[in-house]
Each structure stands twice: as structure tokens, then as C-alpha cells.
């Protein structure tokens, strides 16, 4: 099993969720985050003084999936989240050693 973590633009969330549902990903966890990267923040003025808003609102999606699904999931996310503009975000794949569904105690792929 792998954990697929994607940082995307907030307004792409619904599209990504649908794309994942379509390929059978049954669960995801979403976090509101701020991102700092190549996409530059904007310079604002507050009462005449400048400040840089470096951190832009992003959304982090985490989906634990069976190892064999990884490529498909990456494609689905990329397909839905890609707008071709800077700041579209990243996808990270990390290993999971164990999973358990709290309700049933199931583990492994059944628990996803």
C-alpha cells in the first residue's frame, strides 16, 4: 500500500475527488494548507505598508491505495488538477506499512 499525497489548488478539489471516485478510490482525507513555492505570492499594501503574502491557500489530499493502483491514481489526480499554470502543485508517493479500519479491525487492502 502507498500513501498518495497531493498538494493542489483549492478550486480543483471537487474535480480531483470525482476523478478519484471514478477509478475506485473510496476514501480520501483533505487538509487545508498553505503553500510556498515557485508560484510567487502577491505583494499587498495594508494601510500604506507593503507586505508579501508568500503563502498561498492550497489543499492537501491524502489517499491510501493499493500499490498496484499508484500510477492510475497519479494520472487521475494530474488529469484533474492540471491547469498548466504555475502553482498547480505536487504529488508525493510514500510507503505505508500497515493500515487498519478502526470500525472493523480489518487490515491491509481491505481496510482502504
Amino acid at each position: 500500500m502507498k500513501m498518495i499525497t497531493a498538494i493542489i489548488k483549492p478550486f480543483k478539489l471537487d474535480d480531483v475527488r470525482e476523478a478519484l471516485s471514478e477509478i475506485g478510490v473510496q476514501g480520501i482525507t483533505v487538509t487545508e494548507v498553505k503553500g510556498f513555492g515557485r508560484q510567487k505570492g502577491h505583494t499587498e499594501l495594508y494601510r500604506g505598508a507593503e507586505y508579501v503574502v508568500d503563502f498561498l491557500p492550497k489543499v492537501k489530499i491524502e489517499a491510501a491505495v493499493a500499490a498496484e493502483l499508484v500510477e492510475q491514481v497519479i494520472d487521475a489526480i494530474r488529469g484533474a488538477a492540471n491547469s498548466g499554470k504555475i502553482g498547480d502543485g505536487k504529488i508525493f508517493v510514500t510507503p505505508i506499512e500497515q493500515v487498519m479500519r478502526i470500525r472493523t479491525g480489518e487490515t491491509g487492502n481491505e481496510a482502504l
Binding site: 499594501l45 495594508y46 494601510r47 500604506g48 505598508a49 507593503e50 507586505y51
Partner: protein, 427 residues
């Protein structure tokens, strides 16, 4: 039957005073919302606490001693109930005699209690100005201690020299000698509040992180602009009472018409100030700056407060507009000077308060620039110096500033032990 007419006039004027006073009282809520919207959320509970407690302190201290100092009515208003008469009947007789002497169109005759009510809400206004400027870093209890002295002594003293008609320590009389004129208190209330605030801010220093090396200024945006906007609307509404009530009489044609003009001009000046601040900020910063726009409306109001009855609406709009332009520049300038005023109180009430006073001679023949200047310098010096001393004493005894760590964590926790928005998760 003439007496009935006098009775009605007394009732109408008293009622007018009470309604205007209630509007001014409402300004306390306006300051609370404005300031709570312009600080960070970690400092919100404390600013709310300061604002509502200072109102209560002002009411109590002014009742206990302030009103006596300013107008002489006895400590604790002991004779207020019947204006010193021993029965309702005798009160009626005394009032009717007074009315007969004043004449129907003469000086105003109204319930002394309504006068106190109207006056006391002004005191609170002056003090509210201070709380915003020292926000996000001052100790709560030191602030409250200052509020007692300010509302019980510092303000009443300068009030006694101006509206109270007393001479300044027997040296000179602002009214008689200089014809100082301040209709509803651009100087007496607003500049006074700003002067006390300035003294506090100088002793207190800027918020951590506001100013960096090499003249860098790091803005600290307010956490809740809807609240700040609500506060401004509340103040705008309350100001009709502030200025409208300061005519002091409603019950004849000339007075009623003056009250109406004051309403129109107050509104016009606020609108002018708002638009000017919007445009000046647009030119300087290239965008519509809501917080400056709000300050602009308040600046317009402060500017017209010194004389809302003589200008035409067009002139009132312009007086307000100059106030609105000034406030933007003043905010920038104070930041350059590293005088950290989170809500712009010193600019709105101080800088523009001065402009308001100096604008009086433009539309009022009886006033002179010299006289106005004497008044403003007297008010400023008195309030600034005494406030400075009180803040200094507090600084030495209890300290006035929270620790650096408390400032990072937010004064809500250290001073009030309660967060304004405590929820982590919604469920």
C-alpha cells in the same frame, strides 16, 4: 397655559437629550467592534474587555467625581434626582421660573439628569479612543487604572476649562479671553483622547514585529474586517447624537433647524471624509483600502465636530474630505515615525481633531485661529503631560506592557485567560 408650554418644551428638550445620549452611548459598542476587528484574533478578548469595562469605569468615575469637577454638581450626583429641589412640585416651580427667565426661545432648560447622561457618554468616548491605540500589548489592569484617572480627573479638568467655563488654573479663560470654540468636542473629546493615547503609545513602544531594521514596516492586518465595518457604521450613527445633541436645545424653530442642519452636515462630512480617504488611498496605493476608508469616514466626523452648525452642506463635505485625506497621510507618517497605533486612533482623533478645531474660524466669525490654537495647545499639553505621568507611574509600579512571550501567545490568554474564538474543530 404658558406653563404647560414650558413644561412641554422641558419635556421635549429632555427627551431630545436622552435620545441623543443613547446614540452616543452606542458609540461605545462602535469602538469595541472597530477595535476588535482591527487587532489580531489572539488579542480580541482583551480589547473587548477593555472597551466594555472602560465604559463602566467612565460612567462610575464621572458620576463619583468627574461631573462635579467639570460642572459642579456634587460628588456622586447626590442632588441630581430633583435638580436639588426637595420635591417634584418644587422642581416644577424652579424649572418654570427658569424657563420664564430664559424665555421660550432663550437658553435651554432641561432635566439635569439628562444632562449628566449626555455628558457621561462623552467621557467614555474620549477613553475609548485610547484603548485602540495601545491595543495588543498593554496590560489590562494598568489600562483600567489609567481609565479611572482619565475619566475621573484628566478629562473633567480640561472639560471644566472649556465647556465648564472655568479658568485654567486661574491663569486665563479659554472662552472669555480667547473665544475658543469647540461645538461638540473635536478638541475637548477627540484630541484629548488622542493625546492620552499618544502618551501611552510612546511609553509603551510598538508591537513586536511591527517595525524591522532599516525603516522596514511590517503590517499586522486586522483579523475581522466585517466587525471593523460594523463598528464604523455604529460610530457614524452614534455621531448624530454626539453632534446633534450638542446644540443643547431643540424646542424652538431656530434650535430645531440648527439640530437638523447639524445632522445634515455631520452626515455630509463623514461622506466627504470617506470618499477622500478612498481616493487618496487609491492614488497612493493603487487600490481601494477598506481600513483607510473606514478611518476616512471617522476622520470626516471628527473634523466637523468642532463646528457642524455653521457650514453649508457643501463646505461640511469639504471639511470632512480634508479630514479624510489628512488621516491617510497621518497614518503613513506615524508609521514612519514608528509610533504604532493599531487602529489609527491618534490620526483619526488627534491629527484630524486639530484640523477640526482650526477649521472653525473658516465658517464661524466669532472664532479666531489664535483662540483655537490656544485651546488645542491647552488641551494637548494638559492631557498629554498628565497622561504621560500617570502612564509612567503605572509603568514603574506595575508595568504597562505584557511580557514578550505573552505578546507572542496573545494577550487574550495572559490577560483574560480566554480566547475570543476558542474552537479548534467545529464538532
Amino acid at each position: 397655559m404658558e406653563n404647560s408650554i414650558f413644561e412641554l418644551q422641558y419635556a421635549l428638550d429632555t427627551f431630545y437629550f436622552l435620545v441623543m445620549g443613547a446614540l452616543v452611548m452606542w458609540m461605545a459598542a462602535g469602538f469595541a467592534m472597530l477595535e476588535a476587528g482591527l487587532v489580531r484574533s489572539k488579542n480580541t478578548t482583551e480589547i473587548l474587555t477593555k472597551n466594555i469595562v472602560l465604559y463602566a469605569i467612565a460612567c462610575t468615575a464621572y458620576m463619583a467625581i468627574g461631573y462635579e469637577l467639570m460642572y459642579g454638581g456634587g460628588t456622586f450626583l447626590k442632588d441630581l434626582a430633583l435638580d436639588g429641589a426637595s420635591s417634584a412640585e418644587l422642581l416644577g416651580e424652579a424649572v418654570l421660573a427658569e424657563s420664564a427667565e430664559a424665555g421660550f426661545a432663550g437658553g435651554s432648560v432641561y432635566s439635569n439628569a439628562s444632562d449628566f447622561f449626555f455628558q457621561v457618554v462623552f467621557v467614555a468616548t474620549a477613553m475609548s479612543i485610547v484603548s485602540g491605540a495601545v491595543a495588543e500589548r498593554m496590560k489590562l489592569w494598568a489600562f483600567l487604572a489609567f481609565a479611572v484617572v482619565m475619566t475621573g480627573f484628566i478629562y473633567p479638568m480640561e472639560g471644566s476649562w472649556t465647556w465648564g467655563g472655568q479658568s485654567v488654573f486661574g491663569l486665563f479663560s479659554l472662552g472669555d479671553d480667547y473665544g475658543f470654540s469647540d461645538f461638540a468636542g473635536s478638541g475637548i473629546v477627540h484630541l484629548a483622547g488622542a493625546s492620552a493615547a499618544l502618551a501611552g503609545v510612546l511609553l509603551l513602544g510598538a508591537r513586536k514585529g511591527k517595525y524591522g531594521p532599516n525603516g522596514a514596516i511590517h503590517p499586522i492586518p486586522g483579523a475581522n474586517l466585517p466587525m471593523a465595518t460594523l463598528g464604523t457604521f455604529i460610530l457614524w450613527l452614534g455621531w448624530f447624537g454626539f453632534n446633534g445633541g450638542s446644540v443643547l436645545k431643540l424646542g424652538d424653530i431656530a434650535s430645531a433647524n440648527t439640530v437638523a442642519m447639524v445632522f445634515v452636515n455631520t452626515n455630509a462630512a463623514a461622506a466627504g471624509g470617506l470618499i477622500a480617504a478612498l481616493l487618496v488611498a487609491r492614488i497612493l496605493f493603487g487600490k481601494a483600502d477598506l481600513t483607510m476608508t473606514l478611518n476616512g469616514a471617522l476622520a470626516g466626523l471628527v473634523a466637523i465636530t468642532a463646528e457642524p452648525s455653521t457650514p453649508t452642506p457643501l463646505v461640511a463635505t469639504m471639511i470632512g474630505a480634508i479630514g479624510g485625506a489628512l488621516v491617510v497621510l497621518s497614518v503613513i507618517a506615524l508609521d514612519k515615525l514608528r509610533i504604532d497605533d493599531p487602529v489609527g486612533a491618534i490620526s483619526v482623533h488627534g491629527t484630524v481633531g486639530i484640523w477640526g478645531l482650526m477649521a472653525v474660524p473658516l465658517t464661524k466669525a466669532e472664532a479666531s485661529f489664535t483662540g483655537q490654537f490656544m485651546g488645542l495647545i491647552t488641551i494637548f499639553l494638559w492631557v498629554f503631560v498628565t497622561s504621560f505621568i500617570v502612564w509612567l507611574v503605572l509603568k514603574v509600579i506595575t508595568g504597562i506592557r505584557v511580557s514578550e512571550e505573552d505578546e507572542y501567545e496573545g494577550v487574550d490568554l495572559s490577560e483574560c485567560g480566554m480566547e475570543a474564538y476558542p474552537e479548534f474543530t467545529k464538532s
